[in-house]
Symmetry: C3
Subunit: 499 residues, 3 copies
Amino acid sequence: MTDTNTNMRLKLPITCFILEIILIILFGVLVEYDKETDARKWHHSNHSEYDNDFYYRYPSFQDVHVMIFIGFGFLMTFLQRYGFSSVGFNFLIAALALQWATLMQGFFHGMHGGKIHVGVESMINADFCTGSVLISFGAVLGKTSPVQLLVMAVFEVTLFAVNEFILLSLLGTKDAGGSMTIHTFGAYFGLMVARVLYRPNLHKSKHKNSSVYHSDMFAMIGTLYLWMFWPSFNSAITAHGDDQHRTALNTYYSLAACTLSTYAMSALTAHDGKLDMVHIQNAALAGGVAAGTAGEMMLTPFGSMIVGFLAGIISVLGYKYLSPILESKLKIQDTCGVHNLHGMPGVMGAIVGAVTASLATKEIYGDGLEDVFPMVAVDKKSASYQGGIQAISLAVTLGMALGGGLLVGFIMKLPIYGAPSDASCFEDSIYWEVSSKKLLETSKLCICPQPKKHCNYTIGYVKFKIQTSLLQTEQCLILPQDGSISPTSRCQRRLYAHS
Amino acid sequence: MTDTNTNMRLKLPITCFILEIILIILFGVLVEYDKETDARKWHHSNHSEYDNDFYYRYPSFQDVHVMIFIGFGFLMTFLQRYGFSSVGFNFLIAALALQWATLMQGFFHGMHGGKIHVGVESMINADFCTGSVLISFGAVLGKTSPVQLLVMAVFEVTLFAVNEFILLSLLGTKDAGGSMTIHTFGAYFGLMVARVLYRPNLHKSKHKNSSVYHSDMFAMIGTLYLWMFWPSFNSAITAHGDDQHRTALNTYYSLAACTLSTYAMSALTAHDGKLDMVHIQNAALAGGVAAGTAGEMMLTPFGSMIVGFLAGIISVLGYKYLSPILESKLKIQDTCGVHNLHGMPGVMGAIVGAVTASLATKEIYGDGLEDVFPMVAVDKKSASYQGGIQAISLAVTLGMALGGGLLVGFIMKLPIYGAPSDASCFEDSIYWEVSSKKLLETSKLCICPQPKKHCNYTIGYVKFKIQTSLLQTEQCLILPQDGSISPTSRCQRRLYAHS
Amino acid sequence: MTDTNTNMRLKLPITCFILEIILIILFGVLVEYDKETDARKWHHSNHSEYDNDFYYRYPSFQDVHVMIFIGFGFLMTFLQRYGFSSVGFNFLIAALALQWATLMQGFFHGMHGGKIHVGVESMINADFCTGSVLISFGAVLGKTSPVQLLVMAVFEVTLFAVNEFILLSLLGTKDAGGSMTIHTFGAYFGLMVARVLYRPNLHKSKHKNSSVYHSDMFAMIGTLYLWMFWPSFNSAITAHGDDQHRTALNTYYSLAACTLSTYAMSALTAHDGKLDMVHIQNAALAGGVAAGTAGEMMLTPFGSMIVGFLAGIISVLGYKYLSPILESKLKIQDTCGVHNLHGMPGVMGAIVGAVTASLATKEIYGDGLEDVFPMVAVDKKSASYQGGIQAISLAVTLGMALGGGLLVGFIMKLPIYGAPSDASCFEDSIYWEVSSKKLLETSKLCICPQPKKHCNYTIGYVKFKIQTSLLQTEQCLILPQDGSISPTSRCQRRLYAHS
């Protein structure tokens, strides 16, 4: 299927080249090695090689990196005809976003003599920001062109950095695993974009907006990598020592409890008691999202498990009952259900974080209070002040996300990016070379109804007699073929094949 | 396919909720952070952040975690119609088992003032115990309901912890990579359960108890992750320094040699010299199992390679010649062949460990003897005493596994868990929502024989003439379809479709 | 499909057993633990456990290990009917190569009292050498028997070790990520082997030398793991501290920029602007190859991004325009396009390394100069001398690769290894057990033309009428089946089925 409008021959190269050249120039002007990656600076001071932050954080960084590219990428391959785009556009926008995020975060989080310093911590932070963009991608999956996504990434990264700056630098919020900055922001930003890009006639491509057996298997690869490495995600930038250790542990228990409640709720909400792959692939991860803020605190394994347990329940209920309402009432077509995986669990995580923070005492944290709550330990603010800050941060994040999503949604709505038509959503072949050979398994034969008639069709060299009189509307029949469907002469007009 | 008996709508949620709530309560009462994850305790003492065990063990933990969820999960997806269950039930029972194992192992391995201490080491140990349950899962794969598996997990984890306590704490056995505690125990426990759950009429679902091309590809993901990360598995809880380093190295060589002998034996035992995916997926891993006990000892690369080389040979021979006998003579239907991958190589690993231990001298180990054999170095026992202990431990493990499996098998045999019927084994659609769309590739049209007749059938809107006179017995024909197979009126009774 | 010539029943076991037994004997005689893996030696000296190189390098080793077995293995599964062989032969030859490489590299890089010392660094180096063999495998993918590949591995590893010895030990070349030693060597060696093994009639299996939808999805798993872990690859054996840190950072930026230019070029070079999976799967990795030499130097993020940006452009252009010329003019049938992914970007990386080295100053590197350029810092050679050495090293590598490939190509051409016929290339079923069930999706019905005629064929129990008069030449029709295609009697001679 080729469409002049969706032709990316000039739009995509121009966008990529311009963005990358701008990035390269800005990196040339603004970026330099930090003291742990610069040969001269590192060797200037006296320390053990092991003091290099690389050894504290690089294994966590690689786990996060896998979550971004394999985790998010494959989680979205559940769509039957959108695997190339899911994993491929995920790859493209992540590669852009992490570069742009390095600049934006570097700019907002403090320049060093006019220079942005980079090292393993900036790599992790850039991947975090990228994760937020990919969450928004999940809300609009299948309905956008790659150019549109690149535009979204540029704006969203910028707003993410502003929001993160307000929270972490101005307010002194704690949000190591990003329940607010990453998940809440990414989800509500993406939902608002989806609202602005609402397609009333999306039902035209409804038959492709679902999974097949193998696509669900590929999606489970994404799910499991997200699940396994979430402890690394939440702990990647917490303080060295007990903080990283504790955060990983809390997240691990939250996820385990969440998995049990997800399976329970999935079976319970199905009339025949059958498990739904959508729930398993997504809701089982809500425990990681919900432990994103409080994970580094003294949440205890007990508290972590309660959080995860409730997150799984909320998430499945969201998929089952809330998503249809969002679509029908609020006109938000949330392809991956990011509201259920990132939105509600993110808000929950923010609330849990606020409550846990407000209960912090010197007695519980000892000298470790300084690492977790420097505002309480050093600036002598009360714990309930910290809790209040956490709650305010959630409100700020929601405001930034919804306002930003509204604005960026309208920018994305401009008819210049080559977005797919309603009928060609959720379809790889408009943006990717998919040979006829590749269509073997899912090629379709579409026939128009005609009363009291039948037609002979030839697939390859096999003749079929199609009872067109049985048809009510145009119908598509999925048939195996070698790419050469050809009708016999007399019914030719009524038959066409598409991928 | 819906069956009242296998309906999980109440059974699964009730089981999951009860178990998880019990776990949460017990965690609330019994579990607290260890001194490396607790903010107050960690900051109380004076040390470098790097002394935190997190940095010694967390990368290994994550590798083990991948083995448990991706490795075991995908290894079992080789079945053509059981991918959702393989990876999904693996996910469910692992999430349960690791929580329960934390409690059981914490209880048996020593409480601290009535509290179980948790940290990265308890996380690794819990994952290890979970691995044992997943091995047993492999033996009964396709023939059990998720509730049955959860029940098995609860009991098996408990018995695992008892056996581990006897070996490591009472006897002073060395078994870092768990040739005995994990592999031998898990395999023989599972085999005994499979024996008790023997299904004489399993041939009814024989056509689904095999792989297809893509399912074998998914299984290779599992195989390779197990293979690559096995050095981390065996070294994850060995002593810091040379011990972790040496264990990883030994395992790496054992696996490499095992791979060569596996390929050789697979071609050699096939009449046409063709390699069998079953062998490559499984037997190539036997070298990791067999190096589980002796891996931390001064086995040398030379010794490791001999061990791996032999393990591969034994394992392929087991798949080829022993498994059919186990099924026909001993009535053990071992779906994944865990006897060949974990059983025999586990026993071999235990014996290699006993021999290697009995040869330990102060000359070889130097001051490192204390790390590897504290009983010899500190308690002044002889090396041959240690060797004897190792051999006794194998016998204890076999006894615990077979006795435990017998008991738990009978508990699992109670007709209350919604186990599948003989004809619906190895089939996802009894426990999972699998849309008709998803059945595209493997849907079946089943027809009863009828002498001197043919019938017309309509698949979608295409008519087929079926020669029922050619049929001897009820036969199934695999056909592509869009989920709407409908016979024309006159033959309606003789046609039904199932997934 | 069974062919006496390609029967591996004796050839493969004999080759594997002989090679592995030789390896075991040589390991027994020559290999011992290094001081960090040996219990006695490690405990002899006084140090912190953390000084053990295991903690500096093992996480990187595991990332490299994943690249070798999952990365290379799955990248090559893009072929529709060659997934078992791609991932399976990759597994086999890698398992052999890493053992042989340990010996060869140990021999050339310096024995210790007649012994080869092994530890995590030797494991990484062995995996690196294995990577080079797998690159060459990519050039001949689908056209060789496993025995032929094992023979290639033995010779290539040996020549790799010689070349590496000349560069790193004799000349003092810097090449931490192996732009020259691994990528350039592996690519040109493989291309020369492919040239010698040129098959003029390879078009006979042309229809299998392409991807299908799912095989491209599997290949993306390989691509992403290579992409994500390339920072670990390039930094795995650089000096501790800032060097490892900086190398990972540089590679990360190079890859990100490369991804953008790859997408841009892929759309730009397609007449309909559609992205080509071949480019995304391969060219997006060129940035890692091109940063292999200069990655550890003070290349700066800015420099790294320029390198990656250009590497992506060159690589896509190579796939689009150069590969067809290589095949038609130079008779090099490069299955995976290793010239575009490893060849040209490797040469580019070598040149970038030479230029960057020649610009090194004490001012830029400070005391870190000793780590990166010991020849400049300690031996007081000039930076331009180092640059010259780097350039000479590229020439040496190209010479070794092309000469070695020529020689080994002729050894591999001997008609004794059971290579596939031209018509059975790119086909798993000649070396692997692939049941008829497994053929479901791609089985073919082949029919000869016959003027003015039609024939009835029965697939299972469904009759088809084939219009043989429409056929011009023998044609194959892809049909679903249950493995039991049977023609009705009168046309029997003209019908045959193959996989």
